[in-house]
């Protein structure tokens, strides 16, 4: 059976240094660089993901274009339109060791929805390997995610925990959304 192909655009949002770039690197290249990588402006990566959907007869291959943004708030305002334009899904990333990064996701998500309307959003709390320094609990995340009707994942880009699963789930949500949109 021939594979169906789909091009998708997903954006990562979240405060600076929560680990967005690290998650992408881990997912796309399967490597984690201890060294601090500062994203310059926007970086676009690509990953081909295979998704099987119960109600779609053919397997789907998604060319998932992953947009990673520099996490400064000022920058968000500046590039918001171009960056979020046409996004099919959002990965909203917070840092387990900084409570503020979770609270600030509100603003990010609002920013996205202003541009693209309702699209699938996954809440990701990264750096679970640093749980001894955690500033909030899983139930806080659950409560937060519930407010957006979203699912959430606890990841460690450093240890490679739940990274693959997170992106796979996002891909599935995006495909479902994209196919049912038309």
């Amino acid at each position: 059976m021939a594979t169906k192909r789909l091009k998708s655009k997903v954006c990562l949002v979240g405060e600076k240094a929560v680990g967005k770039t690290s998650l992408v690197r881990r997912y796309v290249m399967n490597m984690f660089d201890e060294q601090y990588i500062t994203t310059i402006g926007t970086r676009v990566s690509k990953k081909e993901v295979h998704v099987s959907m119960p109600d779609v007869p053919r397997p789907v291959q998604v060319d998932m274009m992953i947009w990673d943004i520099m996490g400064e708030k000022g920058f968000r305002e500046l590039l918001k339109d171009a960056y979020f334009y046409g996004a099919n899904g959002i990965l909203a990333v917070a840092d387990l060791t900084r409570r503020r990064t979770l609270d600030d996701l509100d603003d990010w998500i609002d920013g996205v929805e202003q541009v693209v309307g309702k699209v699938p959003i996954l809440i990701v709390v990264n750096k679970t390997d640093l749980s001894s320094n955690s500033q909030f609990q899983e139930r806080d995340v659950a409560q937060f995610a519930k407010a957006y009707g979203s699912e959430f994942f606890l990841t460690s880009a450093k240890k490679g925990i739940q990274v693959e699963a997170t992106f796979a789930r996002l891909a599935a949500l995006v495909v479902e959304h994209q196919l049912h949109e038309t």
Binding site: R5, K46, M65, W67, L79
Partner: protein, 899 residues
């Protein structure tokens, strides 16, 4: 604020003001210029020479030296309006005293309740001083009523001459001599003693009756002189002069006699030394006294072995006996009610009694009467010279309004037989209702000029008896007392000098509460003094002497770099610096940069100023750093686009420059011929002028050495096979971004590569969200990802547009890596065409037509595109026509949507 840099503007201390701008010198005439120069020279001359031990100079690692001045001593420093203490320069304290010692100063700085009054002595509670007595000073005699005593013994009259009221009594004697006692033999006989007649110094006439006696130790002993014949003493009073010898005392005197068989005696009366007139009430001898037998004048005492007493001038008469009062009075109408509290109603009268003889005593009487009651006060109007005052408080009976009668009387009491004469006077009668009420003085917010510390306060006031005075102060930092910057009140209840514990502030407010429980009495506020201090508001300055670069260092000296100060400038304070060489001053900016100074002589000045009297800037140390040319320390390479990595296509040329620097990064040489150039790019080469021509694709190095030294520098170059520009874009996104930015603003100078015949290499159709819809390429390459390229390009283009919408919003063409990229935007997507070699003249127009054609045929499909490439299948063929070497001709409109 450690080591911070204050603003450079401000005054330049006392000296530099002269050197600085005269601001109205728009026309800078010759005389002004001359004067300025003269002053400058004079100042330079007057500046004290630098002492050998100041300043110190140390060598730094970067071809510079630091010259340091510290503020430990004034040696080598010109100090003005600044204290040097504890190794710091700071602004000195200035004392400021607020002193109000006249009531007018209180009034000028605040307000008094209407119940207060200002007098010469100070501020007190205001009294109603209206006198309700008319003609109290007896100038006119009316409306007084002058009322003699009931039986006319005492008169009351108005004395026009003295303008007083005068009271008199005069009466002759009622006594007459009964026995002069000049001759006594056969008339008087001694009892329990020996009587005789003494003619030496009698009190009256030619002699007197003496009695020598001796009294035993027991009680009841007496001696006397007895009249031998019975006597008729029907008069009621006997008066006799008596003189006891000093050694006889104590003794008492009385008279005894028999009436029939009954012995009567008058009450004994103590004798004193010297002559005394003794008056005896004869009625004590019984009602019938016409035949008194054995009448005896007795002295009584005990234990007197040898006594003598003389009596003389015995008289008899009937006593004048009366007590009568004469008055002056008038009615007073009182309109308003007053308090019944003490002091609310007071009568005053001045009195004098020049004469009062032959009477018992004189008494003054003040009486205030109304229907609601009466009050009567008496005073002893004892004779004596001069006027004396008498006050009577009548508050209780005079509280209500109404009609009152005020009278002042003189009561004369007589009980004697001698001549009587009384003269008493009154004057200046007043009835006042002082009606004093508590009051408060409140000052304004008194500005002290600047924030100040409070050292002490002195209060001068009287508050005694029923009065109290509370003085209070508070401080604040704005002119609205009571606002949140104000402290609570601090109170003082006794006069004196106190250490103040008020919070430091720039405003002060005083409050004084004067109270009394007696409407006649008032406290009195005389003076207030508040001692404060603040940091001098005059700016002060410290200036160094001229420092000269040591002769040995002159040859390599380059310039001064920086003035650095170790200082503290709390909020509100500043330190501004200037430097000069002795002939001028110029301000130093807040960054301390003095690199434009290369004089070998230098001095500095610091101006300390504050706008807050509580704080001072402090200056601990000043460092001036100068640079010199040291030995070569390293070599550096530069190229166009430095410091971006070098990416060059094979055959491209990069022009390198080498610099030899000292430890302070001062350029020692840039001349290419003083450097040796090398590369490991075996197909490339570097010329002696530093231009490198890239050889084979791959990573290489270019190396340079400063001739005659081992100092060298190396740089990596990446040489790309010609035509791999897309890889370059993806791999070096930041670099690409930089180049694009430059290109967009018109910089096209940096290209390399060889021109070839024109051809379209690639055509991309990209949706507005960055997803690639279609890619047509003439040369298939496996190692690049057009999807990623599309996304990046979209992101970068929108970044450019955001950075400068005017310039970049319509960016249609840019060049990179020897390729030319043309852009064409449609409503849903945009088209990117990449050309190598010369771009055909009509290419732009061609592309636009193609875009229009695409939107016409696929606009709907674009708008609805969900990301499925199958939806756009018809595009491929359509795009192929454009990539063909021929001019693009739009086909006839294709039918329907692509899916």
């Amino acid at each position: 604020m450690e080591g911070s840099w204050a603003g450079s503007r401000g005054k330049w201390g006392g000296m530099a003001v002269l050197v600085q701008r005269p601001s109205r010198a728009h026309r800078f005439d010759a005389i002004g210029l001359f004067a300025l120069l003269a002053v400058s020279l004079l100042l330079a001359f007057l500046t004290p020479p630098v002492r050998g031990d100041l300043p110190t100079e140390i060598e730094n690692r970067d071809a510079s030296r630091t010259v340091t001045w510290t503020m430990g001593t004034a040696a080598g420093l010109a100090v003005q309006g600044v204290d040097l203490a504890g190794g710091n320069a700071s602004l000195p304290w200035t004392a400021h005293n607020l002193s109000w010692d006249r009531p007018g100063e209180f009034a000028a700085n605040g307000s008094l309740d209407p119940t207060l009054t200002m007098g010469a002595a100070g501020i007190a509670l205001r009294a109603d001083t209206a006198n309700h007595i008319v003609d109290g000073d007896f100038v006119s005699g009316t409306p007084w009523t002058f009322e003699p005593s009931a039986h006319g013994n005492v008169s009351a009259a108005w004395d026009t001459g003295t303008a007083t009221a005068v009271f008199r009594h005069d009466s002759p004697k009622t006594e007459s001599s009964w026995d002069h006692l000049d001759v006594n033999a056969g008339v008087w006989a001694g009892v329990n003693g020996v009587a005789w007649t003494n003619t030496t110094k009698p009190h009256e006439g030619t002699g007197m009756l003496g009695l020598n006696f001796s009294l035993g130790p027991g009680p009841g002993a007496w001696a006397g002189v007895q009249h031998l014949a019975p006597v008729n003493w029907s008069s009621d009073r006997m008066v006799v002069w008596v003189l006891p010898s000093n050694s006889s005392l104590p003794l008492t005197f009385n008279v005894t006699a028999y009436v029939g068989a009954t012995l009567y005696g008058t009450a004994p009366r103590a004798l004193v030394a010297g002559w005394q007139e003794v008056s005896v009430d004869l009625t004590e001898l019984g009602p019938v006294r016409d035949a008194l037998i054995s009448l005896t004048l007795r002295v009584n005492g005990q234990g007197i072995p040898s006594g003598t007493v003389y009596v003389d001038d015995l008289r008899l008469g009937n006593a004048k006996q009366f007590e009568e009062t004469a008055r002056v009075r008038q009615s007073v109408v009182k309109a308003n009610a007053t308090s019944p509290a003490l002091g609310s109603g007071v009568v005053r009268v001045n009195w004098s009694t020049p004469t009062a003889t032959g009477i018992v005593r004189v008494i003054g009487i003040v009486n205030v009467t109304s229907t609601s009651g009466s009050i009567l006060r008496t005073f002893s109007a004892a004779p004596g010279s001069g006027w004396r005052p008498f006050f009577a408080d009548v508050s209780a009976t005079t509280a209500l309004p109404g009609l009152y009668e005020v009278s002042v009387g003189i009561d004369v009491i007589a009980d004697n037989t001698s001549v009587s004469s009384v003269e008493a006077r009154i004057d200046d009668v007043s009835l006042v209702f002082p009606n004093r009420h508590n009051g408060t003085y409140l000052s304004n917010a008194v500005a002290l000029g600047t924030a100040s510390e409070f050292l002490g306060v002195t209060w001068a006031f009287d508050a005694s008896g029923p009065t109290t005075l509370w003085a209070a102060l508070r401080t604040g930092n704005d002119s609205s007392p009571g606002s949140p910057t104000w402290s609570a009140w601090q109170f003082w209840t006794a006069a004196g000098t106190y250490a103040a514990t008020l919070p430091s502030a720039s405003f002060l407010q005083a409050r004084v509460d004067l109270t009394t429980t007696n409407a006649s009495a008032s406290p009195n506020l005389a003076a207030m003094a508040v001692a404060t201090r603040h940091r001098s508001m005059q700016s002060g300055s410290v200036a160094s002497g001229v420092f000269t670069i040591p002769a040995a260092e002159l040859a390599t000296f380059r310039n001064w770099r920086i003035l650095e100060a170790r200082s503290r400038t709390p909020a509100g304070t500043s330190i501004s610096f200037a430097i000069g060489d002795g002939t001028y001053w110029k301000p130093v900016g807040s960054d301390g940069n003095i690199t434009d100074t290369n004089s070998t002589m230098i001095r500095w000045s610091a101006t300390l100023a504050t706008t807050n009297g509580l704080v001072t800037p402090t200056l601990e140390r000043v460092d001036l750093v100068y640079e010199y040319l040291g030995l070569p320390a390293r070599v550096e390479l530069r190229w166009p686009g430095w410091p971006s990595p070098i990416v060059v296509p094979s055959g491209g040329v990069v022009r390198f420059t080498a610099v030899a620097l000292d430890a302070g990064s001062h350029v020692i040489s840039k001349e290419p011929n003083r450097f040796d150039w090398n590369t490991n790019d075996s197909h490339g080469q570097v010329g002696i002028d530093g231009s490198y021509r890239a050889g084979e694709a791959g990573d290489h190095i270019v190396n340079v050495t400063f001739v005659g030294t081992t100092l060298s520098a190396t740089v990596h170059v990446r040489v790309l096979a010609a035509g791999t520009w897309i890889d370059a874009m993806i791999g070096y996104a930041p670099y690409w971004l930089a180049v694009l930015t430059l290109g967009a603003v018109g910089y096209t100078g940096y290209r390399f590569g060889i021109r070839r015949t024109s051809s379209i290499d690639d055509v991309f159709l990209i949706s507005k969200d960055g997803r690639l819809m279609m890619h047509n390429t003439r040369r298939m390459r496996a190692d690049r990802d057009a999807d990623i390229l599309s996304g990046m390009l979209t992101a970068i283009l929108s970044f450019l547009k955001d950075a400068d919408p005017e310039e970049n919003g319509e960016l249609r063409r840019f060049e990179v890596g020897g390729k030319t990229t043309l852009l064409e935007r449609g409503p849903h997507a945009y088209l990117v065409a990449v050309y190598s070699g010369k771009v055909p003249r009509r290419a732009g127009k061609n592309l636009r037509r193609f875009m229009t054609s695409l939107e016409t045929n696929f606009g709907d499909a674009f708008a609805r595109w969900s990301g499925d490439p199958e939806d756009l299948q018809d595009l491929k063929a359509f795009t192929g026509r454009f990539v063909s070497p021929f001019r693009f001709r739009p086909p006839r409109r294709m039918n329907g949507r692509a899916s």
